[in-house]
């Protein structure tokens, strides 16, 4: 069996990226939008790791993916706290109901 080449990994990364963007654009639930963000970040991570295996990027790519994982966790923690704060004030986490600020 042939080993999976670089383009295979990149395709998976691109599919994850597109899924994430669609998820961010269409989900009305704030937690759903944040899950879309995670998909996009993991699409980038697959790219990083695949490039580190197959190109001159080397170990830098793997280190970058580790940092992205850590930052994603930090960002998710703050984002969930803000979503909870929104829920306490509005009793909903539907992003379409956040319409008081406009103009």
């Amino acid at each position: 069996m042939d080993p999976v080449g670089l383009s295979g990994y990149l395709t998976v990364g691109a599919v994850l990226f597109v899924c994430g963007v669609i998820c961010m654009a269409t989900k009305r639930n704030a937690v759903g939008v944040l899950m879309g963000v995670e998909l996009v970040l993991n699409g980038a991570n697959i790219n990083f790791v695949a490039f580190s295996r197959h190109t001159a990027l080397g170990l830098d790519g793997q280190i970058a993916s580790l940092f992205v994982i850590v930052l994603a966790a930090a960002e998710a923690a703050v984002a969930l706290a803000i979503v909870l704060n929104f829920y306490n004030n509005h009793l909903t986490i539907d992003v379409d109901r956040a319409v008081e600020l406009k103009g």
Partner: protein, 554 residues
């Protein structure tokens, strides 16, 4: 190099130099820890924690200032010798520009200039929050922890030399900002503003890191200064075309990274969060975000843009496309920002649209820079673009802070932020009259009328756009739209000034009295706007900006 040799080099050469350059940031980190300890030991009932934050930030400011003077004079300044010795500055450390922390960050006059501005701004904003009392005694530590943390991220952004550092810095300045926007407890608008900011911000950060992964993979490096040469190497003699995979992937990566930075700069079409976040957040936080995170994002954008200079045909085409796209974004931001500001009734929202328009003016400088680079221009002309941008940011720091400080002080007296609340404001006591006069100066400078600092910043940027127009005619279009927008912007600033000075107050018997300290603070931060327009300070700043910008192109 073997592993022990590498470790030896890092420990004995790289680390002492890095720590010396990084000392002000370390002082800020220690301040954060001190703030957290204050909470743990329950000292915040005994003395105001804001003083801990202010003291730490002032120490960091002195540190960066010493570095700045050391680099400027080469350490030959007898009056400051003790200060240099205190911070342990040496010729091999701070005196030498170059990479530190094994190439993740870079130390040069440009980075030091922006770090100095950011810490100075942090000191001023902290003084403002102490005067307005926006974080109460219970929450002070958390608020200042977030604010100092965001500033450390911004200072890292100024020296970013690696794509990973670029992403880390953007995240480090964004994540505390989300929490700061939602800091007003129990307010519906504040929580909504924070939700919108975090949802947009997290999404754009994901898009940006995908762009970073593409760039890093295609060009095979994370180091920002090497990006351009790697691209030239890969392209060889081939022209830039949309059928070449390297060209397409690189252009896509650049586009996604610029989208991330454009979000931080609130450029159209990534500006949706800005008016909402500013209206929901307190005026102090709005002022902090509008100046500090923008200055840092501009420093990053300049570094990223300068990576793509080269003499090959492909890279010059890439620069031209990059420059013209930024020109289009600049036109859109200026026009939309100014038109939307006109219909606003909330002053914070009006100022938010005004910052979008100003980001448009500033990005014109980078657009001009890229177009000039695409034509192998004289380095002096390219440096003039960065010089104009730096002058504009320096003046913008003071004029925008003045405007937001006035909003905060008036809110403390009237509990309102709509423009109607400003009717007949100038009928108040002497301090209120002083406040109104300062607002007048700040707005005249924001419009860009001659005697104020704002005029000279705008003039310098317009002059570089005029020069870039000779490489590609599109910059003349951008320049014309910029000129028209300056005229548009006059109207909405005048609308506010009309309310303040001409319209009668709804309730004649009740006038607004501003406490003496607050009036003095606003007068203090208004002075630099005047000084940067019509005194010797202007020449000083121009000369400094000129030297700093020239260093980037040597």
């Amino acid at each position: 190099m073997s592993v022990p040799e590498l470790l030896n080099h890092v420990l004995h050469t790289d680390l002492p130099r890095s720590v010396q350059i990084f000392a002000p940031e370390l002082v800020l980190c220690v301040t954060i820890i001190a703030l957290l300890l204050v909470r743990m030991l329950k000292w915040h009932h005994k003395f105001p924690t804001s003083w801990v934050a202010l003291f730490g930030t002032l120490a960091a400011f002195v540190g960066v200032f010493a570095q700045f003077m050391y680099m400027k004079t080469g350490g030959e300044l007898p009056q400051m010798r003790e200060l240099f010795e205190f911070w342990g500055l040496t010729q091999a450390g701070v005196g030498t520009a170059g990479e530190y922390f094994t190439g993740l960050l870079v130390h040069d006059p440009f980075a030091v200039f922006f770090r100095l501005g950011l810490v100075l701004f942090l000191v001023l904003v902290q003084a403002l929050t102490i005067l307005t009392g926006i974080p109460d005694q219970e929450d002070g530590q958390d608020f200042y922890t977030l604010m100092i943390g965001a500033t450390i991220g911004m200072m890292l952004a100024c020296g970013a030399n690696n794509l990973l550092m670029l992403f880390m810095a953007v995240e480090m300045m964004s994540v505390p900002s989300y929490a700061m926007v939602g800091f007003l407890k129990g307010r519906r608008l504040s929580s909504e503003a924070a939700l919108k900011y975090v949802v947009y911000g997290a999404g754009i950060a994901g898009v940006m890191v995908y762009g970073v992964s593409l760039l890093a993979g295609v060009l095979g490096t994370l180091s920002i200064p090497e990006l351009g040469s790697r691209f030239e190497l890969l392209m060889g003699d081939q022209p830039f075309s949309l059928t070449n995979p390297t060209a397409v992937a690189t252009a896509l990566g650049i586009m996604l990274v610029v989208v991330g930075l454009a979000f931080k700069l609130s450029l159209v079409p990534f500006h949706f969060w800005c008016p909402d976040a500013f209206e929901g957040a307190s005026a102090e936080v709005g002022g902090f975000l509008s100046v500090a995170s923008k200055a840092a994002a501009f420093a990053l954008l300049v570094r990223f843009a300068l990576a793509f200079q080269g003499s090959g045909e492909a890279i010059q085409t890439l620069c031209l496309i990059f420059g013209i796209s930024l020109g289009v974004v600049s036109c859109l931001s200026m026009t939309l920002g100014n038109l939307a500001a006109y219909t606003q009734t909330n002053l914070k929202r009006l100022l938010a649209y005004s910052t979008i328009a100003h980001a448009g003016y500033m990005v014109m400088a980078i657009s001009a820079l890229m177009v000039l680079l695409s034509g192998s221009a004289d380095p002096v002309d390219s440096a003039a673009c960065v010089e104009g941008l730096m002058y504009y940011i320096a003046v913008y720091l003071f004029m925008n802070l003045t405007a937001f400080a006035v909003v905060a002080f008036v809110r403390n007296e009237t509990y309102r932020e709509d423009i109607e609340a400003y009717n007949g404001l100038s009928a108040g006591g002497p301090m209120t009259k002083l406040l109104c006069f300062c607002l007048l100066i700040a707005f005249v400078s924001l419009v860009g009328l001659p005697p104020m600092g704002g005029f000279f910043g705008k003039f310098a940027i317009f002059a570089s756009a005029l020069k870039a127009g000779s490489v590609h005619w599109f910059l003349w279009v951008v320049l014309a739209i910029g000129g028209l927008n300056t005229v548009f912007s006059l109207f909405y600033y005048l609308k506010v000034l009309r309310a303040v000075f001409i319209l009668p107050s709804a309730d004649e018997s009740r006038t607004v009295e501003i406490p003496g300290f607050n009036g003095a603070y606003v007068a203090l931060i208004t002075l630099p706007i005047l000084a940067l327009g019509m005194s010797w300070v202007m020449g000083d700043l121009t000369a400094t900006a000129h030297d700093v910008a020239a260093y980037l192109f040597h």
